[in-house]
Symmetry: C2
Subunit: 339 residues, 2 copies
């Protein structure tokens, strides 16, 4: 007896004294129903607060108008903002969004995929978890023809459309900027090496060094995990080097703030002793002192784009695309040693 029974077509039919199919058609202004009945039916539906039962609909055609989303977590601003873009776009197109979190765990991720498939969502938008090293559960989605769009951390890009930032280009620009403003020994703090975002950003960093004919020093590249504590440890290890870096490029917000914390705790000045560039949004960059120079992702747009890709796919567009969303390097206070 939970929520007092919804009214169904049957109820309307009974009151109107006509058959169920007739009411169904009347409500959709079918041309072969008398205008009169149409009006009556609609008025009654209004009065009796009739709502089409989505489960009945979905039972016939498999289209519950629900999109599933899998993100590592909801709390990180980067993901929250992307979710926001997804949600707004989905709603604007008449879809609901079910959000699930992988907590960076392979097991969770697998279970979430399972659950969403079981729920018969029309499509899935996802960002890979860090732990994820084998792609079979994603590939399986292609096999059962479940539309999937990946963003940020992606895989199997020949089979699934994806949305990523221009990681290589942004890291290259950030590194170049550090070198242009007085830094000499630039270090890189990244996440697990198997993630392609790590590869790309690291590659951009290395390219910039090469552009400037700076020999690569392996100790200056620390790739552990995207995690606050790991980021702190990475920074500690850099500062403990016999010849520590005089600048650090941290490849995402978690790592950047971890680095900032550690540099400060060592009594070092930013940017004079160690310059710092991170990846983060405007707000967080401005909150800290010194204000963090950072690569800015257009997170909201990434969410929108991912959702649009999915909706296009649901409408039948089978082409696999890789959308690269440009980033912008925003110079603030933490990076410039000299004008």
């Amino acid at each position: 007896m939970e929520h007092s029974k919804h009214t169904s077509l049957k109820d309307l039919a009974r009151v109107l004294g006509v058959s169920i199919p007739t009411v169904s058609r009347a409500l959709k202004d079918s041309p072969d129903i008398s205008r009169d009945l149409c009006e009556q039916a609609k008025r009654l539906a209004q009065e009796m607060n009739y709502r089409p039962n989505p489960f009945a609909m979905s039972l016939r055609k498999n289209t519950p108008r629900i999109i599933g989303v899998i993100v590592p977590d909801i709390v990180t601003h980067f993901f929250a903002s992307i979710l926001s873009g997804i949600e707004d776009t989905a709603v604007a197109n008449g879809y609901f969004v079910i959000i699930t979190t992988s907590h960076e765990s392979y097991e969770h991720e697998k279970r979430n995929i399972e659950n969403l498939v079981n729920m018969r969502v029309e499509g899935i938008i996802a960002c890979l978890s860090q732990e994820m090293t084998d792609y079979s559960h994603w590939a399986a989605l292609a096999d059962i023809n479940m539309p999937l769009i990946l963003f940020d951390r992606v895989c199997l890009t020949d089979r699934f459309s994806s949305v990523v930032a221009d990681g290589e280009q942004s890291a290259r620009a950030a590194t170049q900027h550090l070198l242009d403003t007085g830094s000499r020994r630039v270090a890189f703090i990244g996440g697990a090496n198997h993630l392609d975002i790590v590869k790309r950003r690291k590659h951009g960093y290395l390219e910039a060094l090469r552009d400037n004919r700076i020999p690569i020093e392996k100790e200056l590249v620390v790739c552990r995990k995207i995690d606050y504590e790991e980021g702190k440890a990475a920074t500690e290890s850099l500062l403990a080097l016999p010849q520590p870096p005089d600048a650090i490029l941290a490849m995402n917000d978690t790592l950047a703030f971890a680095a900032m914390e550690v540099i400060k705790s060592h009594g070092l000045r930013i940017p004079q002793d160690v310059a710092l560039i991170g990846y983060t949004d405007e707000q967080h960059a401005n909150y800290v002192e010194p204000k963090l120079s950072a690569v800015c992702h257009q997170t909201y747009q990434m969410g929108q784009t991912a959702c649009h890709l999915l909706i296009d796919r649901l409408k039948g567009d089978k082409t696999v695309r890789q959308v690269v969303v440009p980033t912008s390097l925003q110079i603030r206070e933490s990076s410039v040693k000299e004008g």
Copy 2:
């Protein structure tokens, strides 16, 4: 031909050469099916990757195991963290979560409620939008017996269970702390007066003044809107007073960071010239300089609690509760003028 047909009981039945109901029962280990058939059926289900169709289920009993959530936005850390608590709890109990955002708009809020009801979610967890001044759309949920749990910004607490922080007590403690550590003229920046969180925190602030026999000065209380720009304007107006405050209590994170920005931009020192206390989480409080003394909400727990209240309600517990989640005052650098 979207996602290649799921296998149904019918498919299994055909292969096994038995009737559909039989398979249905076999899969649930019904006692009146031969052990043999049970085993066979389950094995086959496994092989053929059978998934019960949730729409068919939901069509019979109205229990899609989906919870709807309405929040003002996803991006604000406060909400993101609560969502996280809700999501984890929901999943742990076998529920999906559909998240919708009101964008602080009355219209969106109404539409979201509508949509979730149409979708036949089993219950709703929500935080009121700021714009919301009339409660009828929420009251309507009670009429149709849709379980509703409110958090943070609540209404009709006699009919709906809710989860709130101890706003009055926390504001009182924060104000007392300011007075204890050298501040004399404490101002309060709040949001729209019709929100009960605003009322409660303001009340706590006023109580603290009274406790200390400090006359209340109306100009020191500015309640506009919870919004970054509005918060800046509020702070500006305070600093422009003939006798400006020497301390500010900002009743949430958005307002606190806005206040900090403006105070700094005036070249005033925190806390020496103007002491500041906000409401925010640990991480953000520590990012800024000086580190922000702040009331800390147990956001994740608030989400968990709200979800548990809903699940209990879904299990039949009709008692209406008001859960108050304690806060903690965390003294950092922005508030203490003197030891």
